[in-house]
């Protein structure tokens, strides 16, 4: 049951094959078994069981709230959840209990979703590995998969090779791991520079970033106001579409949400691929791109072409500057957004009481880690009067050039862009930490952050396993507010590639009845 899609489980609930309480308990038990992944910061067991109970009552009366009723979900720990601790994986907010729910959380709960818990992340969503939070790093479930271990020639699974576990990517690594390990059917992440799509690619799940302005940011603890969006992580594209349908729409509490009415939609199975024009941005062929990713990218392009789509090379000329531009704008907005953490109204407060400034300074030193402090200081540097024009305003101008690059490409008849999501498959933690956070973010966000600067929708779809048995994902980028069209194409593509199900050996032995082995179709992108 846990291996099914959201839609399948929802049908099972409606038909009474399983009750919400049973489903909730299965997920809770799996969360306990996968505790070593460190995907969850808070497991809201009591709340979840209560919600499951209420969902059960609704089903018994035949009054289900829809496709999400009774479905276990998880939420990244930078979304405010009423009465449930929200920490952003930082000392600054340890023990902070918000008095309200983020709009997207409220929408999920209003549709009957069952909240399993808050997932782990990089501190304040700054990072590309989910390794820099105060609750420790998140481990990629694929580190323990049969597919990976077989390739590493590990015969006995009693053998503890845990020291070389892989990162999940970030910053929504906990959400990605939670979905990949079957502990929930959907998870919320946030996406500022690729934070949903990056871990999705590394964990073999679907990571969807909606258009900026489509989904409310109210209650999402802000990083970069002009780029943040809530992201959706699920095991298939159809599930992401279901969740998007529940979350999209104007929110009076977030004035950056557009007011256009959002029609509920179901994705068709056919995508009229022969009418499509797929763009391949040539500047994304980075020298650091692994040959395996490049090969899958090329095969994917060929797949579309073989189905009659027009596949053309396009140019996004300012690509090489986009990561620099992102770095300046991100640190500047971060410097502003982190100013609210002064220890007075909420969050951590130090013991020094000599003066306000001494108190603020010590609180912030104790509350923030090096990464956050580094970005605040960089941001403040770029915002100094003598630097403002040359750095901040300059970056805003470059942002327009980057956004225009995309507009020009889409205006020339391209429907969707196809690019890699990450440079390579997930790397071991020990290797990842050899470089500092800023360097890693600059490397890993290379394909994803331009999308945030232009506010476009994008989705990472798992494609195939690498030679090492690890997931590789590819990214589709759509026109602004054409999220439905984008997901339609992604769904078609997903059906063609038939990405294999993760085989988590130890867990399968214990709950073998819960997993169904999917049949692999003949068309695939396996090497």
């Amino acid at each position: 049951m846990l291996g099914r899609t959201l839609r399948e489980v929802s049908t099972a609930l409606k038909q009474g094959h399983i009750t919400p309480t049973e489903l909730c308990q299965k997920c809770l038990s799996l969360i306990k078994k996968t505790k070593f992944l460190n995907a969850y910061i808070t497991v809201s067991e009591e709340v979840a069981l209560k919600q499951a109970e209420e969902s059960e009552k609704r089903y018994k009366k035949g009054h289900s709230l829809g496709d999400l009723d009774g479905i276990p979900v998880a939420v990244k720990d930078n979304f405010s959840t009423s009465s449930i601790e929200t920490t952003c994986a930082s000392n600054m907010l340890k023990g902070y209990v918000p008095p309200y729910n983020a709009t997207v959380v409220q929408k999920l709960l209003d549709k009957g979703a069952v909240l399993m818990g808050k997932t782990n992340l990089d501190e304040f969503a700054m990072g590309s590995g989910s390794t820099d939070g105060v609750f420790g790093p998140v481990k990629n479930p694929w580190s323990y998969s049969k597919q990976y271990r077989e390739k590493r020639k590990q015969k006995a699974h009693g053998e503890n090779e845990d020291s070389n576990w892989l990162i999940t990517g970030g910053s929504s690594g906990g959400s990605a791991a939670a979905v990949a390990a079957f502990t929930c059917f959907a998870a919320l992440g946030s996406d500022t520079g690729g934070s949903t799509r990056n871990p999705a690619a590394h964990c073999g799940v679907v990571g969807f970033k909606p258009s900026y302005g489509l989904v409310s940011r109210h209650g999402l603890i802000p990083l970069v106001n002009s780029m943040d969006v809530p992201g959706i992580l699920t095991r298939c594209v159809d599930d992401a579409a279901i969740v998007l349908g529940m979350l999209a729409g104007h929110d009076p509490k977030d004035s950056t949400t557009i007011q256009d009415p959002v029609k509920p939609f179901t994705l068709p199975t056919s995508a009229d691929v022969n009418k499509l024009c797929i763009g391949i941005p040539k500047e994304y062929l980075a020298p650091e791109l692994s040959s395996e990713v490049r090969s899958f990218w090329s095969k994917a392009a060929n797949l579309f072409e073989s189905e009659g789509a027009k596949v053309i090379e396009v140019s996004l000329p300012h690509t090489s500057y986009s990561i620099v531009c992102y770095h300046v704008l991100c640190t500047s907005e971060v410097a502003s957004n982190m100013a609210r953490f002064d220890g007075l109204e909420y969050g951590h407060r130090c013991d020094i009481n000599v003066s306000t400034e001494a108190m603020y300074a010590a609180t912030r030193r104790e509350g923030f880690n090096d990464v956050v402090r580094g970005r605040i200081l960089s941001g403040n540097f770029f915002l100094l009067k003598e630097n403002y024009e040359n750095y901040f305003i300059k970056a805003q101008k470059v942002r327009r050039l980057i956004a225009n690059d995309f507009v020009n490409v889409f205006n020339s008849g391209v429907d969707v862009l196809l690019t890699p999501t990450t440079l390579s498959e997930a790397v071991p933690y020990l290797e990842f930490i050899k470089e500092d956070n800023r360097t890693r973010s600059a490397q890993d966000d290379i394909f994803t952050q331009a999308v945030n600067m232009a506010g476009l929708p994008a989705v990472s779809v798992p494609v195939a396993l690498s030679n090492q048995g690890l997931p590789i994902g590819l990214q589709f980028i759509g026109r602004a507010f054409c999220d439905q069209q984008l997901l339609k194409i992604a769904k078609w593509f997903e059906k063609q590639v038939q990405f294999p199900v993760i085989q988590l050996q130890e867990l399968m032995d214990d709950c073998s009845s819960d997993f169904e082995i999917e049949k692999l179709s003949s068309v695939s992108l396996k090497q």
Partner: protein
């Protein structure tokens, strides 16, 4: 102290005020010891590799504005690298290009009507604060030492 007590009242007042100021200055110094101490040590070990953009002056200024301290030499080095990274933007020709603040710039921002529909949750909000007295958040006293007043005016001059 005995001479203070026997002095005429105006002089005594003045001496007391001076004493208070000195005590404040000492307390402020104590509170900011970690800020000032390591930095003095640092500037004497100048790293020849650094571009020199992040001078001691800039460090002090940034720490004051951000209310976050660098904490180590590595942090300064990281800022230098970040600046060098950002300098790459100079190569882009942005003549005649308007800065972009938001991707939704062509749309009208939505504004709610000015009616009170929620609130009245002071108790709930106060629960998250560490120091509260009745319905007030309690803050330590503001900066009132002349040493800090001097610093403030100096940084204004720099601007």
């Amino acid at each position: 102290m005995s001479s203070l007590l026997s002095a005429p009242s105006a002089l005594r007042e003045d001496a007391l005020r001076r004493l208070k100021r000195e005590m404040w200055a000492r307390a402020v110094k104590l509170g900011l010891r970690s800020w000032v101490g390591w930095r003095r040590g640092f500037t004497s070990k100048a790293d020849p590799q650094r571009s020199g953009r992040v001078t001691a002056e800039v460090i002090e200024h940034l720490e004051r504005l951000a209310l976050v301290d660098f904490g180590s030499l590595e942090a300064v080095a990281r800022l230098e690298k970040a600046i060098a990274f950002a300098d790459r933007l100079r190569a882009v020709d942005t003549d005649g290009v308007e800065p972009m603040e938001s991707v939704l710039e062509d749309r009208c921002l939505y504004l709610r009507s000015d009616n009170v529909v929620e609130g009245n949750c002071a108790e709930e909000l106060l629960q998250n604060a560490h120091r509260v007295v009745e319905e007030y958040f309690v803050a330590p006293p503001g900066m009132c030492s002349p040493k800090w007043l001097n610093r403030l005016s100096l940084s204004e001059l720099r601007i």
